[in-house]
């Protein structure tokens, strides 16, 4: 896996791109490459992270404009080929807006921008994004969002539950998300979107390492 390269997408307004790159390179020794949103050439990368931030200023809706970038247009074939895509926070919003994941993310119930550490239950092992093989089924990750309330209709929720697509649930729901949902995968399991920030939990020096497993799992085949 020496040449395995994770593409970190940079939109105008992304602000966690460097955090993701630092966590991957500095903490996990995984090579990264920044991908400008106007690029549609994904041949050089083996997995992709859509980082957090405020792409296009969150104009219209979070993630709504980013969806039309050349890079997101090229993502369809990338996902179909089975390669892994991780959308964190604004990246999760982009994945729902562009239809790679079902549902939508909208304003937190209490209207606050919430910046906190949250306890999360690992619900599904689909895609191998989380370590639920040992006894520890709960992880702690930071959240930082104003529009992280996951919403979907009842049919979609049933489908998520029946197909084990819910990856993470908040132990104490901070934002009013349906069914306490913090992260979901697609049916194939190669696309994960989550509101918490695993890249901010990759070193004990900054409060924890519960995010390492998810970032490391990007290099899974």
């Amino acid at each position: 896996m020496d040449n395995f390269t994770v593409g970190v997408v940079v939109f105008p307004g992304s602000n966690c791109d460097r955090d993701v790159s630092w966590a991957l390179e500095g903490c996990l020794d995984i090579r990264t490459k920044y991908l400008w949103h106007e690029s549609s050439d994904l041949n050089d990368v083996d997995a992709i992270v859509l980082p957090g931030g405020f792409s296009y200023g969150d104009y219209l809706r979070c993630g709504a404009i980013a969806r039309f970038s050349p890079l997101i247009n090229a993502l369809d074939d990338f996902v179909k080929s089975g390669k892994r895509v991780l959308g964190i926070c604004n990246g999760f919003q982009i994945l729902t807006e562009s239809g790679f994941l079902p549902g939508a993310l909208t304003a937190n119930k209490n209207l606050n921008f919430i910046c906190d550490d949250v306890e999360l239950d690992i619900v599904s092992s689909k895609g191998g994004w989380f370590d639920n093989k040992n006894e520890k089924q709960t992880i702690k990750l930071p959240i930082a969002h104003g529009e992280g309330r996951y919403h979907c209709d009842s049919d979609t929720l049933k489908k998520l539950v029946d197909n084990e697509l819910i990856a993470l649930r908040y132990k104490s729901n901070p934002n009013g998300s349906s069914f306490d949902i913090a992260g979901i995968t697609n049916e194939q399991g190669n696309v994960l979107g989550l509101m918490p920030h695993p890249e901010r939990a990759c070193d004990e020096a900054i409060g924890g390492t519960d995010g390492l497993f998810t970032l490391k799992s990007l290099i899974m085949k």
């Binding site: 219209l60 729902t96 549902g103 939508a104 909208t106 304003a107 009013g176």
Partner: protein, 84 residues
Amino acid sequence: MDQFAVKVFVRLRPSVLDPAGEATKSASIKLGAEGIKSLRIGKMIEVKIEGNDENQVREKIDLLCDRLFANTVIEDYEYSLEKL
């Protein structure tokens, strides 16, 4: 070529909680406005568009509403169209 003025209204679906609307309702009551039963906030988008045929213009606006202006998972839209 004719020009049309379009006003698009995008609203959260009735089943979706509107916390900004709830907060504004609360402030309205504090201001002394009585009798407010419901207050929900949406968006209004104004578009001026050229075209020779109103139906073709409507097709374009339908596409814009469905794919960009509204996220139909959580929002409904409607629009009015006026020939200038």
